[in-house]
Symmetry: C2
Subunit: 354 residues, 2 copies
């Protein structure tokens, strides 16, 4: 069943819209007092992510507050490797840590594709609960990290500045990394398909760390496996098209390659210029992005001007499709009023472009 407001889905499929829809990466997050209240109730980030009812609650908070055009499942990017038994925890000030990083041939051989309806059932329950709570107002986006981005955390054992461990594996034992990526691609595809079956109406693959790779390594170790996931996804479910968005932070240099991966839409970060990206990739994919999240720390006038600049850079929509977003996740210190201003400007100003 189509949502009452399906502008987001239409933009992704490059169909005629009345205005440019928007949502914000990390829209359910710490910049919202109501999120912090729910998180406090949960006790920890992982408890919050593991509870379908609380995940549902925070997913709807920004939707209710701002009138956004899509909701995105609240979850953690590392649910899949956690379901592989690698032992995820969060250490204050350090971010995610895996108790069992994948750094040996034995560890690689022990990897398996988790059953999304067993080990990750709490995510599917959250998707179903959110769909019920949304009551078809707007579409729900499911998501996953890309195979390479998940591998970064799995091999490094957590966050990294220079990706020395995974790159050393890539340059000394590429066979091991390829095996990890193949398992990840199967796992991500199964995970996203289960989200679609549970009710996700579009999915986004976050390739947060692909941009740290050298030219050619990106294509071989990141994009090839993202493409593999895209090929395995349900592109239609229950009679509805399921659009797929691929977002590679720092991917501007490879944007033609990314636009050829089979996805319906490509997310671009704030360093890109949407006019130039559109010149390079044409209208074969919709584009999503790309305001600098830090613009939201500016004055009302500045926020409105910068929002118009992004819309003007995309230009008349014509046969294209534009979903407004930030070029990266919203910052935790963002004043929520800035988001209200942004939504108002995007919704109003963009009408002239459609």
């Amino acid at each position: 069943m189509k949502p009452l407001n399906d502008t987001f889905l239409k933009a992704l499929m490059r169909q005629k819209c009345d205005y440019t829809p928007l949502w914000l990466m990390r829209q359910a997050g710490r910049y919202l007092a109501e999120y912090n209240a729910t998180r406090a109730k949960a006790g920890s980030f992982l408890n919050l992510a593991h509870s379908p009812s609380m995940a549902c609650e925070v997913t709807l908070q920004p939707v209710d507050r701002f009138g956004l055009d899509a909701a995105i499942l609240f979850s953690d990017i590392l649910t899949v490797p956690d379901a592989m038994g690698l032992g995820l925890s969060f250490v204050a000030g350090e971010g995610p840590v895996f108790a069992k990083p994948v750094q040996s041939e034995e560890a690689v051989n022990a990897l398996y594709v988790p059953d999304p309806n067993k080990e990750l059932k709490y995510v599917m329950d959250a998707v179903s609960e959110i769909r019920r709570a949304l009551n078809n107002r707007i579409p729900l986006i499911g998501f996953s990290g890309s195979p390479f981005t998940l591998a970064c955390y799995m091999v490094e054992g957590g966050s990294s500045k220079d990706f020395r461990t995974i790159k050393t594996m890539m340059y000394t034992r590429p066979d091991l990394l390829h095996r990890i990526l193949e398992v990840n691609a199967q796992s991500v595809a199964a995970y996203l398909n289960a989200q679609i079956e549970a009710g996700a109406q579009a999915v986004q693959i976050f390739d947060t760390w692909g941009g740290a790779l050298a030219d050619r390594d990106f294509q071989t170790f990141s994009l090839a496996y993202t493409k593999r996931v895209v090929e395995l996804l349900h592109r239609e479910y229950d009679g509805e098209k399921i659009p797929v968005i691929v977002f590679t932070k720092g991917g501007d240099t490879w944007i033609e390659d990314i636009a050829s991966c089979g996805a319906d839409a490509v997310g671009v970060d704030w360093t890109s210029n949407l006019t130039r990206v559109r010149q390079r990739v044409g209208d074969r994919v919709a584009l999503q992005g790309n305001m600098d999240p830090m613009v939201l720390f500016g004055s009302e006038e500045l926020i409105r001007a910068q929002a118009r600049k992004v819309i003007d850079d995309f230009g008349p929509v014509g046969n294209g499709g534009h979903v407004f977003n930030l070029g990266h996740g919203i910052n935790q210190f963002t004043p929520p009023e800035a988001v209200s201003i942004l939504v108002d400007e995007v919704h109003n100003y963009s009408r002239s472009k459609h």
Copy 2:
């Protein structure tokens, strides 16, 4: 006086060379046991940077060990803001910290252009001492951070992940940031000119953080001020041309703009493809780069293959100029033998391209 081996200078000026010269960003550093010994003797990084004789010692270590084609002044990127009286120190695990970050109108108004031959005399003494010690074997590169990169540290008060403080200033009080950048441009130009007068035979401007800016903001707040520095530099001194290199990490999307800033050469990071960069900018500038520093953790065979790939990507030198380098500073855990292999391969394999 021309150095005995002036291949590096000739490549920067796109003159005929016998082979592709190379040096490595951060070539004097913690991956070398002899560097760590000198640093231990100095007691701290800042003591080492402040001592002309010890700075000279570490500058020559990689040159003597590997037979590189250029030496680069060992110094800290934050000497200029330190000379402005902002109170630089290094906190273990946190990196550089300024006691007096520049976050108010008063602090901005108090900024001044330091006299490089007074407050920064220790750097000029190091340059002179290195030139004497090099005895004209190979050229010496002077360097500075770009006005924007220095401003990042000055406004943030140290390192930053998201540049929230400086971007908030940029979006709320652009006038203040422009004033900082103007002082920085004047300071960097005076600092580099003094290095040239003291003996630097080429200079590199490191725009380490320009790539964190949105399109248009990069041009306005970073590149415009780098260009201002380039315009103010001695381009010839004591009868010799002084080539200027500009390196913007993450600058691929703006490479045409960067190549138009007036520099002789443009450094590119490992995400770029040199074939495509050369197609975009032509041969109006030399290119420097761009192997992923992490390749040096691979096998001998892999290092040689990847070095050849970079040289092949640049292609036949023709009317162009190529200086081989890494796409970023060498990692502190790099095995020094890997550098010997790299130097050997670049020097030998590249002969067929000239």
